[in-house]
């Protein structure tokens, strides 16, 4: 019980901080709009005639969600580096609570921020021509949450090891690019070179995109075509994301315990 109380308190603080930072709110609002505007109109014109057998915007949409969730989730975990630099981490470290409630609280905060931002994308979907079946929304949102959890856990693990904002920022830059392009967002991962598919197998984003695409397109296109893009079943994808998130948070706890 105490564990959940402390986790909730720490998560709550993350949300208050987010809420007070108007620039952060604004950017998280604008980013998805920008994405949709660029991908929606730009790519649609040039790539609509692709040979996927499916409207490109429909194909891309899960990737856009994943990209947004990833960006916000990663960025939200930077608060750990910030807290270390500005001394607040010690205030938490010396409290009579477990280190895991600190790690889970921070991860949960980032997860909530990232997945609620993705809600905006869901609301806007119809306006850019993405066909959404209302019934799929809860499951779609569940996966937004799971992707956010996995990425937040990963971000927390990284930020637990970083001493400065600069190094955290640099590492994020290096990670975000390959993670996005090897997520299956732009091209299916079913027929790529082995090294690519190995990386994709370790990439939590690819599981999220895989699942969300099945949820979104299921029933809209013939099953044979959908099967061509699909790598794992939806439950397997969900399980991977959950386990990935938990392992990453646990790793962060280990680092907290070792390094303080």
């Amino acid at each position: 019980m105490q564990f959940f109380g402390a986790t909730f308190t720490i998560c709550h603080r993350e949300l208050i901080r987010y809420w007070r930072d108007k620039v952060r709110i604004l950017t998280t609002l604008i980013q998805p709009l920008m994405f949709l505007a660029i991908f929606g109109s730009g790519l649609k014109q040039t790539l609509a005639q692709g040979n996927f057998g499916v409207d490109f915007i429909q194909f891309m949409y899960p990737g856009i969600i994943a990209m947004n969730v990833m960006g916000v989730a990663f960025f939200s975990t930077v608060t750990t580096v910030w807290d270390r630099e500005f001394g607040f981490l010690r205030e938490m470290m010396v409290a009579p609570i477990s280190r895991s409630s600190i790690a889970f609280g921070k991860t949960l905060g980032a997860t909530v921020i990232a997945s609620s931002q993705a809600l905006i994308l869901l609301v806007l979907a119809p306006f850019i021509g993405v066909k959404l079946d209302i019934i799929t929304l809860p499951l779609l949102f569940l996966f937004m949450f799971l992707v956010a959890l996995a990425i937040s856990g990963m971000g927390l693990f990284i930020s637990s090891m970083m001493r400065t904002m600069e190094s955290f920022g640099l590492l994020m830059q290096i990670l975000i690019f390959p993670m996005f392009f090897l997520s299956g967002a732009f091209f299916p991962l079913t027929s790529v070179p082995t090294w690519m598919s190995v990386i994709a197998k370790l990439n939590p984003l690819s599981y999220g995109v895989d699942a969300m695409r099945q949820i979104l397109l299921g029933g809209q296109i013939p099953d044979q075509i959908l099967a061509k893009f699909t790598i794992n079943t939806i439950p397997v994808n969900g399980l991977f994301l959950l386990v990935f998130g938990l392992v990453a948070v646990s790793a962060a706890v280990v680092v907290f315990n070792k390094r303080g």
Partner: protein, 323 residues
């Protein structure tokens, strides 16, 4: 009863020994000071006593609990004000306190009352809904003290509570600290390298290179130095020193622009000295020994230069930047 009991505590960072086999006890209700120069091992000791660092060797018992095997009990027993700032500047004063109270399991129905109590103690009640970034350095420090008290700890650790503050704010802060001792019989363990602050302590341990050089009340420590200190300035400082040595004074210290002589009874010695000395003297002074003299007496060095050290200036700068 000893509320802090430290035995043969050692902390090594690699080959470097930051705290070297220290032992001491602190009684309930005492204000106990750790006095020492930069890098002496003061913060390292506090970090071990507050469970943030594990000792390499030795044991520390806080409020009857082991800092290694009963961490959570120790953590609940102590309030901490770190050397470096540790408030969330995006939160209001009240939110910072609430966060802390929740992590320390302060019952919800007791919170409002305690929050008001500690904020009034440090005169911040009317600022409770302001965000911390609008606070001055002294206000932040006071809030940190209030935060350290809201879970009703039995011991308050203060690591250089007044560093980077102007003299007036420092004096104010001391009023609060002494009020705590008076009104709550709080045990206070504090570190400082301001000599005049150490005077407020019931007992002080002087720590240097990770070791306790001496431990006693400020009065006794000063008595140990001798009766009085006579200071003399002269254009011919070296000649004056030679002459004084010929007269049989052995405890002469060469300060920047003056000589300091430790004597038993300064009031009767001074006129005699002035009559006998031939070297021209510009100014003379007579004063009681300070803790500075104690440190000098014991280690042969001054605890710190007149001007703040580079590290100190950097810290103050950091405080302002974080301000």
């Amino acid at each position: 009863m000893s509320i802090i009991k430290v035995e043969n505590l050692v902390k090594k960072f690699g080959d470097f020994t930051a705290v070297n086999n220290i032992s001491f006890e602190v009684k309930k209700g005492e204000v106990f000071g750790f006095l020492g120069p930069n890098g002496a091992g003061k913060s390292t000791t506090i970090n071990m006593l507050s469970t943030l660092l594990e000792p390499t060797e030795g044991t520390a018992m806080i409020n009857g609990f082991s800092t290694v095997s009963e961490r959570d009990d120790v953590r609940k027993s102590v309030g901490l004000v770190f050397q470096d700032p540790s408030l969330d500047d995006k939160l209001t004063a009240e939110e910072n306190l609430r966060f802390h109270a929740k992590l320390y399991h302060v019952p919800a129905q007791a919170y409002q009352h305690r929050m008001k109590e500690v904020l009034q103690l440090v005169d911040l009640w009317d600022r409770k809904d302001d965000q911390i970034r609008a606070f001055s350095g002294g206000m932040k420090r006071r809030l940190e003290i209030a935060r350290g008290l809201i879970h009703y700890p039995v011991i308050l650790f203060l690591d250089e509570p007044t560093i980077g503050l102007d003299p007036q704010t420092r004096a104010h802060l001391w009023d609060y600290i002494l009020k705590l001792k008076r009104e709550k019989q709080m045990t206070i363990f504090m570190t400082t390298h301001y000599m005049n602050e150490a005077e407020f302590c019931d007992r002080i341990a002087i720590i240097d290179h990770g070791q306790i050089v001496t431990l006693d009340t400020p009065e006794n420590l000063k008595k140990g130095v001798g009766g009085n200190i006579i200071t003399m300035q002269s254009r011919d400082k070296r000649g004056l020193k030679v002459e004084l040595e010929k007269m049989g004074h052995s405890k002469i210290k060469d300060e920047n622009d003056s000589l300091e002589i430790e004597v038993e009874d300064g009031a009767s010695m001074l006129p005699k000295l002035l009559r006998e000395v031939r070297t021209p003297i510009d100014t003379v002074g007579l004063r009681k020994p300070t803790l500075d003299d104690v440190f000098l007496h014991l280690t042969g060095r001054k605890i710190r230069e007149e001007n703040a050290s580079g590290k100190d200036i950097m810290r103050q700068h950091m405080r302002m930047r974080r301000g």
